[in-house]
Subunit: 161 residues, 2 copies
């Protein structure tokens, strides 16, 4: 039993450009949500679907840094990597993102945090790729489950920390 | 007087996605064109419009590296920076790109080199942004002059080296 409120996660495919926009509120200030993205130990505690193990190879979340992590479940491994274009404290992370199984499908991701007052904030995350087919394939791949479950784990982490 | 052949540079705005595609052939093998992008001293010799001075702050052109350079003309300075998502020798560079005067307009750039035989190669460079307005503004900003003149300087560098 937990009393943590899980807000709705909105995942919208843009009609005009090959972009997915994820919007989610958190009952925590932007600083805490930002830190949960930047700190490798915190990031590993909530990222990805429930039941997946995550191993962080590197997570140098600063402007000009890079990252790589491996998700594992039932003996299968899925590795992801990218570069941090810009990290602006408590506000913004712009990064690239690739699944190593499809290394030529690179996404440009932009995470924005807005303070909503009363210790709450809104996260908006966009993921831009170079084709609608690629974007729609990404949405159809089951990313929604990973995003929803990841943010539920993040709610719980934020409630504890 | 120079006998260097300047091939035509094609700059095409994609009708479906907010992307610009630049295509250019060079009378040099892919290895040499790749090196002219990776090596900071070579890169500084050809990048940008004629008459611009360029100062490289950093150019760590490897997977997970980053770059920053400043173009200067008539006392005005224009700084650019980004992160290298992936650098695959003689074949591919995927990077982010931002003009520091408009830091929130980040492009995802992808440079592909193809060997054409006879010591020639084709460069295809795409630049993806998150809106058609941003893409069209970038094309209208005079980038064509910088791209054309830069590649003419690159032709001459390749002919000498």
């Amino acid at each position: 039993m937990t009393s943590t409120t899980h807000h709705e996660t909105r995942i919208v495919s843009d009609p005009d450009v090959p972009l997915v926009r994820i919007t989610r509120e958190f009952d925590a200030p932007a600083e805490k949500v930002f830190r949960a993205h930047v700190d490798p130990e915190l990031f590993a505690q909530w990222t990805g679907p429930k039941g997946m193990e995550i191993r962080i190879d590197r997570h140098d979340c600063r402007t000009g840094g890079s990252y790589r992590y491996v998700m594992a479940q039932d003996g299968e491994e899925y590795a992801f990597n990218g570069a941090f274009h810009e990290v602006r404290e408590n506000e913004l992370i712009v990064q690239t993102f690739a699944f190593e199984g499809m290394p030529d499908d690179v996404a440009l991701e932009r995470l924005v945090l807005e303070d909503l007052g009363d210790g709450r904030c809104r996260l908006t995350s966009t993921s831009l790729v170079d084709s609608f087919e690629g974007r729609d394939g990404f949405v159809a791949s089951g990313m929604e489950v990973g995003v929803n479950e990841g943010y539920e784990k993040l709610d719980e982490l934020l409630a504890r920390a």
